[in-house]
């Protein structure tokens, strides 16, 4: 068996739309399956991010402490780290809460105290929200950006295919936000 390129995908604070767009490659998935080995992803069962990953695609912004840790851990073990989609690239909708000064407290209060009928309380045995939602590059070094909400499947396929062939990736005229 030829050595397959080791690919991981991570879903931080986002809607899974970027992962769905990844799956929207449809029949092209059957082709890339011959060339890549998926080693970590919400669509498979690895529980710990492995070592020596060639490419990691990350969807979503960094909204809590666990995600910050996950991102840093993945960065250490990844050669090429890609911000996939607008939440990862800019914070996007996930970062709308940043408009409030103490944004973590504000959003938690609304959801778990003001709109609860029984046992209103802010959950404590859960990851701690960061005071502001951050795009990936404010936490770690990012090698490529694929904007879009979500990025079109064709664009994701283009980036993966270029990387698999060792060719340069040019996003000029191919991508846009939203």
């Amino acid at each position: 068996m030829v050595n397959k390129v080791r690919v991981a995908t991570i879903w931080l604070s986002g809607c899974a739309g970027c992962h769905m767009s990844f799956l929207d490659q449809d029949e092209a998935l059957l082709e890339i399956a011959n060339q890549i080995q998926l080693v970590y992803s919400p669509i498979m069962d690895a529980k710990v991010f492995p070592e020596d990953v060639d490419v990691t695609l990350i969807e979503g912004a960094v909204a809590n402490e666990d995600q910050e840790e996950t991102l840093k851990f993945a960065r250490e073990r990844t050669k090429i780290l890609i911000s996939l989609g607008d939440c990862a690239v800019t914070g996007n909708v996930t970062a709308l809460r940043n408009a409030w000064t103490d944004s973590a407290k504000e959003v938690l209060n609304r959801a778990y105290v003001e709109t609860a009928d029984v046992q209103p309380q802010i959950p404590t045995d859960v990851p701690t929200l960061l005071p502001k939602v951050l795009p990936l590059h404010e936490v770690v070094k990012v090698d490529f950006y694929i904007p879009g909400c979500p990025p079109p499947a064709g664009l994701i396929n283009y980036v993966i295919s270029q990387l698999l062939r060792g060719l340069p990736v040019s996003m000029e005229g191919k991508s846009k936000y939203g």
């Binding site: 809607c15 899974a16 059957l30 669509i43 529980k47 809590n64 609860a116 029984v118």
Partner: protein, 474 residues
Amino acid sequence: MKEIVINPITRIEGHAKVTIFLDEESRVTDARFQIIDFRGFEKFCEGRPYYEMPKITSRSCGICPVSHLLASAKACDEIVSVKPPRSAMLLRRLMHMGQMIQSHALNFFHLSAPDFLLGMDYDPAQRNVFGLIEKQPELARQGIRLRKFGQEIIENVAGRKIHSSDWIVPGGAAWPLTQEHRDYLLSNLPEALTTTLQTLAMFKSWLSGCTEQVETYGDFPSMYMGLITADGGLEMYDGNIRIVDNNGNIVADQLSPNKYAEFIGEAVEPWSFMKFPFYKPIGYPDGMYRVGALARLNISSKCGTPLADEELKQFKKLGKNGIVQSTFHYHYARLIEALFCVEKTKELLEDPEIMAERVCNKAYVNNSEGVGVAEAPRGTLIHHYKVDKQGIVTKVNMIIATEHNNLAYNKAVTQVAKKYVKAEKLQEGMLNRVESVVRSFDPCLSCATHMVGQMPLEIQLVDNQGNLLDRKTR
């Protein structure tokens, strides 16, 4: 007290973990299904104009964005106090069918089929859709193409596959369907129908070998809730709410979704970001009900399309008084619904009015409040907005399909953990079964957080005060 933590739960649409509690003799006493991400839509939508709400709330979920678009647009229809033209209703329903098909195909082929076709104890590194592509390429291709058919319905109606939020507007839709798009979808319909029928037949052929799963994967009584047509048929876009008990008795019927707050309450537990809705007249936590495909078929007396109606008859024979209670049968129910949706897609595409030019009744703010309800693939989805005179949003409440099932999730994971997890000799496959019952429900945790080899395992030894005494990873 000892704990086993499965984190993250994989091949589900979201961020979750399961903590299993053991007593001194290492027997499983309890298990918790915990949601560990949160975004805060109910707060950060404040101050936005109402017509932006479909665009923003669609981003709750990339798996069922269409449900959010519909619930949000319906809430906005109420704010502008306008009924969309029939053409727009047909198109919205068509888009909804596309979403049901793609989402049900995703759960079956991409997420759950690896368990069925490769096996619960199969190598975890291969037990996924890429493993399926390698072992059963033709079946994987069919599944991929069925999901694609669903996504293409959305794309052809509304411009793109995910977050097609420019198309849906308060009062209807932004543009009509073209002949070209209609013909394209009709040309792909026969293949989708064949795949759905074959998959259903394949699943039914496995059922006799699944007795153990049926009996232990969340097999317990509960109430069931969902939208229903005026004459008790399966409804996904409009209609009123029906609640049925486990004996098939109607507990409440034709409830106006606008009055949801009168019969649904929400509780909070300190260990999860997912709230716990309950049926108010019974209270928390006994007012447990389930939603989604299983619940919809349990509350409905018919589907309304010929092939799905035949399947529904067979399905109902699995239970007493037409109520099928095992969570495992969500899989079966989703496949019957997928068949219904393919049949319904044909019916909608052949309706002459679907090509009408006029697809929107325009109006501005006429109401200070709007509630929009739709059946998402995973169950009843509620959006509730309040706006000021200029239409600026002042308050938002969203109850998400997956949340309704929260009490049931916890019951189901406890049942499976008690049956399969033997702490003294933990094996990966035991824990995969716990995850598998979670997959049966098909949780959409992306939505639920709106308001936001060998499996390495972490076992924590915790004393009664919750202090961590020991931690082991294998």
